[in-house]
Structure formats: structure tokens, C-alpha cells
Subunit: 336 residues, 4 copies
């Protein structure tokens, strides 16, 4: 299989993370890196042996470019994806697909109108444990699903600048857990959330939370909880549980590398400290799947339509957190 | 130290569980077993080498009896404890201290007026892991506490008869987790809960839930979640987590006995299947502490006053579950 | 059941450990404590509400005493057990049953001639995990047994005085693991061992080892390893594995209490630091079983005959360690 | 960095495993696949988009080929590596570097005379946990190293044909563990081993063992054990421990993927079932390191000289196993 010719649109934090992954994959070759910061673009391009530019058009007008990887700031996703779709490029776009439900609708329409494949970066769906869990649930190993629980805690908060435009804790971070809820259990009917500003007092001036918990009631009757925070002392804390009548699946990478040190303090083990340490296989696998499915003419997954519903759920949860109300998800933000 | 002379009041499920523990403790000697079922009383009495009776007075009028262990149905707790207190007996009473807040107030008043020691059966406070966690939190190893999480799942539902008088899922079962929340973090300001009747459809006719999740907002700002269910496929599932700025404590007995079988299915381990397998040390230790503190003239713990606040919190949570409202705990049920 | 009336013979380190256990058991009552050190005897006796003495006869001549618990130094075991057996007392004796094979034979003969029950303190056989493993092996869950592995590491060396009379590392410590080998797999045909004096250089002057590893070839064809050391930095390290054609059993208490602290260092858990923390259930259970079996007129286990074979194996292993030879166990020390 | 142009020499079991890894690496490009079986060569070549051939010369004479990956049967290693070295190709050769010590010497001389880089496939040295352990030991986190333990058990035996030419259990399989012993602790002074034919009775006709245990005495004074078997019921069992005065490092990938299923049997987790599931990162990392070090003109590791000493140790252990003698490693097989 010939390597997929890709342009990276965005060379910031997530762009650089994807670049590190793409650099090692035989299935993908990055030929162009675009960023409004010429410095960022050049630095990432050099690592990848690609050409740098500050102009989106340089990528979209290049007929050699098969696909774009969009990691620009969330508020720009809609415009960039629309332009790429119009240019006929396949698109991989980081979550969330857009910063608002209306913008998200626009993306879905643009992508579907152009008929281009568009995959959204919910990498957990490609993690070996999440995939195995999905298979087990589909095979009925849990019987009817009755409960769900997710924990998503980052090791330390991103910059205040980032936070101010991130859409809030349950949108920016919680969306991964809420997407997993939909992936494993199905659509959520109602969400309630409470939170606090316990970690970064300054966030209060901007109405932002750094800690939140939520309850979920699923349309199928199951109930669940969600715990999200912007900082832990102990690294990156991602746990997902699905409870059914026949058993419980618990997903957690608790030890990495596979080593325990026993010393005078007892047993000690290191843990994933950030998303790159927790999900290296998943970040690679989602790109390999994107490239292979494009190559084979198969649909990509999760697609923008699927991702829009995760966006709606995350928006609803964020609204619940901000208002203290129980939010009915179907009545929030309309439909696609 | 001479063994404490005890009378057991109640020889049902919990009475029998306590009897099995007391039978092996040098610190305690059960001389009388009282139960309205003469059969139950006789059976337990025989195992303990004690005298059986159906009359509470037989225990309360016996000057040799130093203390009573009350495991009668919850609605009778208040009357039995009041009578025992009036008779000057030290009291150990199973949780909850009463079935209602008003009855609970009566118990507190009776006990405090009589000046008798009265310990309530929140055995987790005597589990080695919970004790260690408490010490760590008090020593400041977590820094400021920001989060709490508890799971409490029974292996299978008790009888419908029991459930109908149990006061509801978050009272009967959740109270252990909510007591742990108070023990580790402090008082809860607000509680919200959602649940379902997923396990025992018949419970719906009685307005009972078998599955519930809740969010907690603590007075100190921390937030937390609670998950409770009446049945799992995999045994007794008790987990408690406390999250602070410096770290996280995770309490779980996941393997018992200390053995893993590796076979063609992979790794396999047994787990505690019920409360007696999860908390054998705690059930013994709470009784030994009761006996020793009586002997030494020291206060017992947790006392009825403490337990009343756990009762109020559990009642508030149950009210939230039944009404779908966010319940402010201090405005619920008044004060002692 | 009436508590068994016991006299403790020996109030040193192991005697005190047993006393702490016996103090809490309803099945046992210690009425006398004998030690050549009047101080030791008095201290332990006070804790137990027993009478202290320095004369063995005070216990053996007391008709109220049903059984003796012998924890005197190993070289005295034979004489004390013989005297107790002659006095018609039931005997619980710490391992090893004697310091030599000839002395061991004398004990077996004395006990069998007197017809008294005599249980030897291989407490692991009463640990819940070892018991479960034994059941699994007997039920055939492993199929044919092909391999064995044991680790036995103490947290820190005992005193030099103790070590000089202990009979050597593989006798004093290794005998627990070698008894487990016999318990799970069967008799050992050949043993080879190498060791070092890595921890306490002074031991070299006495020809003593503080670290050793061994290979075992069982009569049934299985092979195994043993690792023993007198000190770890990280507490008490006891692991036992049995490998069969259908699977592997791994026994280890790796976490105690049931709690993990996650902090900036990663995950951290405490471990059993000494034998009392690793085997509290086993030390209690072996005494309860002793008392109950005496009460019921049932045989005690492991008995002296069984224990003699563990002694022979340990002696053979120690000989292998000291000579560098492969030792055939049946040709070492004769038979009973 | 331009991808390294590689020819695969050998397209059997290990060749195919390497091909699967190389296919996904951007750093490597396989342009030729050589195997005496035209079918094997063609199949692997097709997957890699490479050219197939049955003639070694086709690879060695191709000036575009920078490096060869040698996975032919062990007895041919020496000739193939010699030819490749003479042709000036960089070489990656699977372990063991040769089937005998004399052949191994020839390889070392040929490689060193030609001045080509030659890396040997001890992939564990590239596993994240083994690398971390190495760093910890070098930083002194264990203090003086006193003990070592390795377990290496394959899920099921390879074909009898393979076994007959494999050089024996401790050479073919044990060499990985013995290389780890040298990597972590240093040179081994003496080895003793016992084994059996418990799994495949037919092996007895060929004087082959399927199960073995060994003791190691290191030149620095540490002692260790090794357990090797050709079959488990439960998958691929690789564990390595290093014990020092300050602590113990335990390396084990016990759960993969990162998921536990709790059901009516208790807790259940899957494990690595074969070397590809246990060491995917390591197999990729050793090739990436090979390519990068060639590109950067840095030495590769482990080199043939290093690998020759692991071969000598494995040969000595196999000799111990076959003769029942304690083998002094330095007196076995001479020096390089």
C-alpha cells in the first residue's frame, strides 16, 4: 500500500503530538504542514521532511495531497473542514468537530455534500482495551447494560488562554468520556453536573470550572457517572467501566512501563503521565485505520455525524454544569 | 481483660453474621440471644453457648449483661435502643441508628440522657484500609480534599419483604458509602440522584429502586459520586476513593484469597462475594474496640450523634432519588 | 465449645507472636506461661491473664492444662515435646520439630508412643490462599503438576546469636517453602543450592549464608526453584507458585492494607512487612483448628511424622548449600 | 530521515513476524525478501511491496540495499552474516548469533573485519520496562545487585523439526533470559540446571528437554534462578526480577489489553499470548534504533561481541542441563 499523502493543518500542541505519531508510520506521509505561526509550521515540517506554509490554500490546492489532518483551534474547525471538503480532500479532524452545534451542523452538511471521508479524533475507539470492550459488549458478554462510569483527569491544566476558548471542562475534556458512553452504552437522555474551581482559582473570573462530576441517565435505562478534573498529582487518570447484568468491564492502564519497584516504601509503579503515554497505540491506530480505509474505499469511523452527537451530549453536560439544571439531551440543541 | 458479657437482640441475617464473629473473639462473650422467633434465638444461642429467649426484658433485666448488640429490623431500633439505654446497658446497634430522623433524635436523646455508650455499626471505619486512609488524610498526605467516589454493590438483592421496609436503596445500602464520605471528607451540602429498576422489575410496584447514582457537593467544596446497586454478577463490589491536590487514595479488596489462577482463559482471581468476605477484620475489630473501650471507660465510635448525621445524609439522598430534586442536606430533616 | 486450656512453653519472639494471636481467640485460653527468663514469662503471662513460671513441670504437672504450645529454641524442642507427650499433654510445636533428624525421630516416637496429638507450626497450610490452592490442585484444576517455585525473604536478619543456633538459612527459613513444596507437589528427589553472604558479612566467620537459591527435582518429575534471603528492603516477600499442564497458581499477598496511594511518584502500596502482617489469618486458624480438632477427637495436621519429612528435606537442602553437591533426599538422613 | 533500505534474508516464522513490524515503520523499507522457499519469499514480499528471490546474492549484490535482516535457521546464521558483512551490508541478525561458539567467533571476526554494524535481536533490551529497569539499576536505585530471577515460558512448543535443530531449550529459549541476566547483573560464573520431558514425551527420543530450571551464580556474588518451559496453558509467560540491597524490580506484562472482566467467576483478564503480543514495542523499537543508529553513524547494540557472550552462557547452561554438572562459564568454550 502506498503511503497516504497528508497535509497537517495546525502545528500546535495536538498537531505536534500527531506529527510524532505520523513520523513513525509507514502508512502515512506528511508532505505539507500549515500553521498560522510560520515557526510552528517550519519546526514540525522539518521533523517530517515536509514543506511548511502559513496558507491553508497551499495544502488544499496541492493535487498531491490526499488528506488533511486538522488540529487547529476548535473555533476554526468548521471553516477549515468546510474548505477542505470543498477542495475534495479527505479529512481527519481533532475532536470536537466544531465549537458549537450549529457550526457542527455546517460541517456535517459540507462533508456529506462533498462526499469526502471525514474521521473525527476520538482515539479511544482505537485503543486495544476499548476495542476489546466494544466487542465483548456486542457479543453480549455483559448482558443488558445497566451502568457506566468514566473518569477523565488531566495531569495539569492547559494554559488559561487555551481554557478561555475551550468551551469548558465537559466540552473539551469530558467529550472523550461522553463519546465512550455513547460508544459503549448508547444515547444519553439526561445529564446533571456539579463542579468547582478548586485547582485554578483564577478560572472563576471566567466562569470556568476545573473539577466536575455528573450523572447520566441513558435512553435504555442505564445510569452512569462521570468525573473530570484538570489536574491530578499523579498523572493522567483515564478509567472507563461498563456494568451489565452479567458482569463489569473495567478499562484502566494503571502501570506503564510494565514494572514494579519494591523498596522501603512498599510497591511503587509508574503510570501514564499524559495522553501520549496512555494512548500511543490508539493514536497510531486511528491514523493507520484512516489511511487504510481511504485506500480501500471503506467508510471511516467515527464520522462527523457520529461526532456531532457526542458534541451535543458534551454541550448538554456543560450546560448542566453551568446552570445547575438537569438537561434533557434530545431537547438540547436540536437534531442534525 | 475479662470478656464483655453481651446479649444479642436480634438473631436474623445480621445477627447471625455478628454471632459468627463474636463466637471467635476472646474479648466478648454472648450470654443471651433474644429474637421474636424462638427458633432463630435458639439456633444462634446454641452456637454461642448462650440462653435463648423471645423477650427483650430477659436481657435488659439480667444484671450480668453488660451490653446489648441490636440487630433487629431497622424500624424497631429506636424502641430497643431506648429501652436498653434506660436499663443502663451499653449498646451496639447496627446501622442505620433508626428508620427516621425523628426516631433517630429520640435515640440520641435517650442514649445521652442515660449516659450509656452507644456505638453504631459502620464497620468500614474499622477496616484496615479505611483506617489507614483516614490517617493519611489527617496527616495531610492528600493535601486539600477535592473529590470523593464510592461504589457499593451487593451481590444479590435481599428479600422483597426486607426491601419493602428497608427505607430504600440509598438509605439501607448507600448509608455505608455516605458515612464513609462524611468520615473522609466532611459534611455534604447537596445531593442529586438518579436511579432505575433494572434488576428486579417487581420493585417498581413499590416505588423502589435497585440501581442508583448520585452526585455529592461537600460543604468544603469537594465534589463526588456514588454508585449503588442491589446486584452484581461478580460478587460484592465496594470501592472508595478520595482525591486530593497531592494524590488519590483508592480502597478496594479486589482479590481474595491472595491467589491468581492462570489458565487458558488468562488470569483469574476470586473476589469477596459478600460483606463477610470483604470485611472480616472490620466486623471483628468494631466489636473488639467496643469491648475494649467499654472496659477502659473510653468513648465508643462512631456514636449515635455521628450516626444521626449519616442517617440524615442518607435520607436526603434517598429523597433526591425519589423526587429528582437537588436536595440541600442542612435544610433536610433539621438538626439534632 | 469450652476454650482449650493451654500452657505456653517459651515466651520469646515466636512465643510472643503466638500470645498476641491466642489473646484474641475464644477457642483458646492460656493459663500458664513458662520461660527460662522469668521476665519474659511474666510479661507474656500478664497480657494473657495467665500464671508465669520458669519451670516446665509447673505446666506439665497441672491437670487443668490440656495442651502446650512449644516455642522454645529449636535445639530444645525434642526434650520439651518428649516430656509433654509423656505427661499426656497435647502439643503444638513450632517448626522445625527438632534441630536434627535423629532428635526428630525421637520426637515422633515419643508422640506416637504416648498417643498424644502433636501439631507442627507450618501455618501456611492454614492460610486462605494456600488452602484454596491445595483444593484446586486436588480437584485437578492444574492437571499434572510440572513446576514449583517459592520465594521466602525476611525483612531483616534475626540476631547473630539466633542465627548461630538456627541450623542455617534453608533449615530455619527455607523449611516453610520446602514444606509448601511437599504440601502441593509431593516428595523431592534431589536438591541443589548455591548461596552467598551478601547481607551480613560477619556471617562468613560462622560458615553461614544469608542468601540462597536452589533447584528441586520432585519424585513425580516436576522441577522447581527456591529463593531465600535474610533481608529485603521492602518487607516480607513470600510467594509460591505451582505450575501444571492446565495452568498456574500464583500465591502472593502483595498489598496490605487494601489501598493504593497515587501521588506524584505514581502508584504506591504498602505490603506485609513481617510474618504477622502476612499470615494473621493463618496463625489464628492453625490454633483454632488445633483446639477444635482436639475437642472433636480428630487428628491434627500437619503432624510430627509429616513434619519430619519437611525437616529432612530442609536438612538436605542445607547440606546441598554447604557442600555444593546435588543431594538425593531419600539417601540423606535415612527414614523415620 | 530517509527510510533504511533493507533486504530480509529468511521469510519463515521469525521473518514473517519481523515483516509485520517492518511493514508499519516509516524508518524502514524492505525492498527485497530472500528465502530458499520461493513461496515464503513471494508471500512476504507481496505484503511489503518488495521483490522476492531465492538467492542471497540478489540482496547482497544490490547496491540499493543498505542492510539485511537475517532470520534464517540458526545453523545458517554464520554463513549468511559473513557473506553480508563481506558485501559491506549492515546486518540485523536474530538471536542466537550462531549455533555454536566457534561459528559465533567466525561471525564476530567477519563483522569486525568488515567494519559493518551488526545488531543481534535481543529485543527485550528495547522493551520499555527492561529499558527503565536498566536505567534504574545504573542509577543505583537497587544498590548492590544480589539476586536475579527469570521466567521464560512459551505458550506451545514449536514443531519437532524446529526443535531438533534448535540447540536445546536453554539455548533457543533460555538465551533471552540469560541475555537479560548479563544485561542487568553481569557475567555469570556458574550454572546448574535440571529439567524434564513433561510436555512432549516424544522429545525424549532426541535427548531434548521441554522444561528446565537453573541456578546462576554471578561473578559479582549475586545468585539467581531461571525457569523455562516450552508450553503453558495460559499464554506467554515472561517475568524478570532483579533484587538489590535497596529493593526489587519486577518486570511483567500481566494484563493485555488493559481491561478486566468481572463476572460470576470473579475477575478475569487476558494476557499476552505470544511474543508478538508481549513485545510489540520492543520489536519495533529495535528496528527503529537499528535504522536510526545506522543513519547517525552510531554503534548498534547489542552487537555481535556482546551477543557471543550470551551465546556462551546459554551453551553452558544447556551443557549443565544435559550433563547434570555445575558448569563454570569462563572455562566453557573459551574466549572470543
Amino acid at each position: 500500500m502506498k503511503a497516504l499523502n497528508m497535509a497537517m493543518i495546525g502545528a500546535g500542541r495536538m498537531g505536534q503530538a500527531h506529527a510524532r505519531v505520523l513520523a513513525g508510520l509507514a502508512e502515512c506521509r506528511v508532505s505539507r504542514v500549515i500553521d498560522t505561526s510560520a515557526d510552528n509550521a517550519r519546526r514540525v515540517a522539518e521533523e517530517l521532511g515536509a514543506r511548511a506554509s502559513t496558507l491553508l490554500e497551499d495544502a488544499l490546492d496541492d493535487p498531491a495531497v490526499d488528506a488533511v489532518v486538522v488540529t487547529t483551534p476548535t473555533p476554526t474547525h468548521a471553516d477549515v473542514v468546510e474548505a477542505a471538503a470543498r477542495a475534495g480532500k479527505a479529512v481527519f479532524v481533532e475532536k470536537p468537530v466544531a465549537d458549537g452545534l450549529e457550526a457542527g451542523r455546517r460541517v456535517v452538511q459540507a462533508v456529506e455534500r462533498a462526499g469526502v471521508p471525514c474521521q473525527v479524533g476520538f482515539q479511544r475507539r482505537y485503543d486495544p482495551a476499548y476495542r476489546r470492550a466494544k466487542e465483548m459488549i456486542e457479543r453480549g458478554e455483559l448482558g443488558r447494560v445497566e451502568g457506566f462510569r468514566a473518569v477523565g483527569r488531566d495531569p495539569h491544566p492547559p494554559s488559561l488562554d487555551f481554557l478561555k476558548t475551550s468551551g469548558g471542562l465537559l466540552l473539551d475534556m469530558g467529550i472523550h468520556d461522553l463519546d465512550a458512553a455513547r460508544f459503549f452504552v448508547g444515547e444519553v437522555a439526561e445529564v446533571y453536573a456539579v463542579g468547582g474551581t478548586l485547582i485554578e482559582p483564577e478560572l472563576r473570573h471566567y466562569g470556568l470550572f476545573d473539577t466536575a462530576v455528573a450523572t447520566l441517565r441513558f435512553e435504555g435505562g442505564a445510569v452512569g457517572t462521570l468525573e473530570v478534573a484538570l489536574r491530578t498529582a499523579y498523572g493522567y487518570d483515564i478509567r472507563t467501566e461498563v456494568l451489565g447484568e452479567k458482569g463489569r468491564i473495567h478499562i484502566e492502564r494503571d502501570r506503564r512501563p510494565d514494572l514494579t519497584l519494591y523498596d522501603e516504601r512498599g510497591g511503587n509503579f509508574d503510570r501514564p503521565r499524559n495522553f501520549e503515554q496512555r494512548f500511543p497505540e490508539a493514536y497510531a491506530a486511528e491514523m493507520v485505520a484512516f489511511a487504510r480505509n481511504l485506500h480501500a474505499g471503506k467508510p471511516v469511523t467515527p464520522d462527523v455525524r457520529d461526532a456531532w452527537y457526542s458534541l451535543r451530549l458534551a454541550k448538554a453536560a456543560q450546560h448542566a454544569l453551568e446552570t445547575g439544571q438537569v438537561v434533557r439531551v434530545r431537547e438540547f440543541g436540536g437534531e442534525l
